[in-house]
Amino acid sequence: MLRRGGRMDQMDQKAFSLDEEDGVRSAYRAYGAELFGFAARSLGDHGLAEEAVQETFLRAWRAADRFDPSIAPLRTWLYSIMRNVCIDLSRARAARPSVADGDPVVAPGADAFDQALISWQVEEGLRRLGEDHRRVIIETYFRARPYAEVASELGIPEGTVKSRVYYALRALRLALEEMGWEA
C-alpha cells in the first residue's frame, strides 16, 4: 500500500497501489497521454517517446514503495521519473554512431529538460483553457496584436477582449494549480 497519510484531496492522491497492475492502469489512464505529450515534445521523436512512457511506468512500478503522496502527488512523481528516463534515452541516442545523412544528435542536459518541463506545464495549462480564453492570450500576447484589431476580428468590443485577457489569466492560474504548479 502506498497510502501513508497526508492530504488526499486530489484525485491522484487517492491511494494508488502502483505495485499492483490496476494501480499502473489507473496511473496510465490519468497521466499516460500527457506524459507521452511531454516526451514527444522534449525528445522530438514519437518512437522514443513511446519508449520513454513504457520505461517511466515500469520504473514507477518498480519504485512503488518509494512513492509517498504526502510528499508529492502522483503526477509530479511520474514527471520526475520521466525526466530521468528522457535524459537517459537522449544520451543513449546521442551516443550511437551518427549516420551519414542524419542530423547530428546532441544530448540535451538536465537543465534543458527542466526548462522543457516548465514550458510544457504552461503550454498544457493554456491547452486546458476554453477556446475564447486561449485565443485572446495567443493573439494579444504571443502574436502581440493590437486589442482593437483582435476585437474587430472576433466581432466583440475592445473592452471585452481586455476583460477576457483577465479572465483567461485567472483560468490559467487555476489550470496550473490543478497540475501542481506553485507560484
Binding site: E21, V24, R25, Y28, R29, G32, A33, E34, F36, G37, A40, R41, H46, G47, L48, A49, E50, V53, Q54, E55, F57, L58, W61, D88, L89, A92, R93, A95, R96, V99, Q115, S119, W120, Q121, V122, E123, E124, G125, L126, R127, R134, I137, I138, T140, Y141, F142, Y147, G159, K162, S163, V165, Y166, Y167, A168, L169, R170, L172, R173, L176, A183
Partner: protein, 227 residues
C-alpha cells in the same frame, strides 16, 4: 481571490490582465496603479496573477496546438512490460529458491542480461532471422504458456548498432505487424523479452525494426525449426 467590493473594483480588475501583459495605455496604467494602491483586494488579485503572466514567457507559441496523442496500443504495451518484468522477477526468485545457482540480473531499459531459468509449462520454439547483416547474430525464441495464448518473444542478439532503439513486432498471416514493444540495443549484445498481443496460432513472423526504419530483421515462425 478577494471579493469585488465595488463596481469600480470590477472595472479595474478586468484590466489587470492587460496591465500585467504590458498592454495598457499610459493613462490606463496610471489610473489602475492609483486604484490598486488604495485597494487591498485588488492589490492581492494583482499579485495572484502576476506569476501567471510571467509564466507565459516559458511557453513556446509553436507548441500550443493539440498535443500529440499516444498510439492506442501504448497502454497495453506499458502493462505488458510491467507484466513481463513481474513474471521475470518471479522466475528469478523461483530460481534462487530452487538453489539452481542461476544468477539473473535485471538492468535498466528492460534489457535482461542473464541466464534464463526455464519457465514452467512453456512451449519453446527457436527461429533464425533471414538475411542478417554481416557481423550480426540474432535468434528469436517464442514461448507459449498454457494459461495465456499470447506469445512471449525473446530476442537474443549480437552486433546490433549500440544505442539504437528497436521495435519488436509479430507479423500475422495477413501481413499486419503488431508491435509488442521496444528495446535499446545498448552495447549491441543482449537479450530482451516482450509479450505480444498476438496468439501463437496467428503469428507468421517476428522481427525488429530500428527506430529510423532503416534496419528490418525478420524471422518467419510458421514452421518450428527445433523445440
Amino acid at each position: 481571490m478577494g471579493s469585488v467590493t465595488t463596481e469600480a473594483c470590477r472595472r479595474w480588475r478586468e484590466t489587470l490582465g492587460a496591465y500585467l501583459l504590458g498592454h495598457l495605455s499610459p493613462e490606463e496604467r496610471v489610473g489602475l496603479e492609483a486604484h490598486v494602491d488604495g485597494c487591498r483586494d485588488c492589490r492581492a488579485e494583482l499579485e495572484e496573477l502576476r506569476p501567471v503572466a510571467v509564466s507565459l514567457a516559458d511557453a513556446d507559441p509553436g507548441h500550443l496546438g493539440k498535443a500529440p496523442a499516444p498510439p492506442p496500443d501504448l497502454a497495453d504495451r506499458v502493462f505488458a512490460r510491467v507484466r513481463d518484468r513481474r513474471r521475470l522477477e518471479r522466475r528469478r526468485r523461483f530460481a534462487f529458491r530452487a538453489g539452481a545457482g542461476i544468477a539473473a540480473a535485471v538492468i535498466a531499459l528492460s534489457v535482461v542480461v542473464a541466464l534464463r531459468p526455464e519457465p514452467p509449462h512453456a512451449q519453446k520454439e527457436r527461429f533464425s532471422f533471414t538475411a542478417l547483416p554481416v557481423g550480426t547474430k540474432a535468434i528469436a525464441t517464442l514461448y507459449t504458456y498454457e494459461e495465456d495464448p499470447r506469445v512471449e518473444v525473446w530476442i537474443e542478439y549480437e552486433g546490433l548498432t549500440p544505442g539504437v532503439i528497436y521495435a519488436v513486432w509479430v507479423e500475422r498471416a495477413s501481413g499486419d505487424r503488431v508491435r509488442c514493444g521496444t528495446f535499446d540495443a545498448l552495447d549491441g549484445r543482449h537479450h530482451t523479452v516482450l509479450t505480444s498481443s498476438v496468439s501463437r496460432s496467428d503469428a507468421a513472423a517476428v522481427g525488429l525494426t530500428s527506430a529510423d526504419g532503416r534496419q528490418v530483421l525478420r524471422a518467419p515462425v510458421t514452421a518450428p525449426e527445433r523445440t
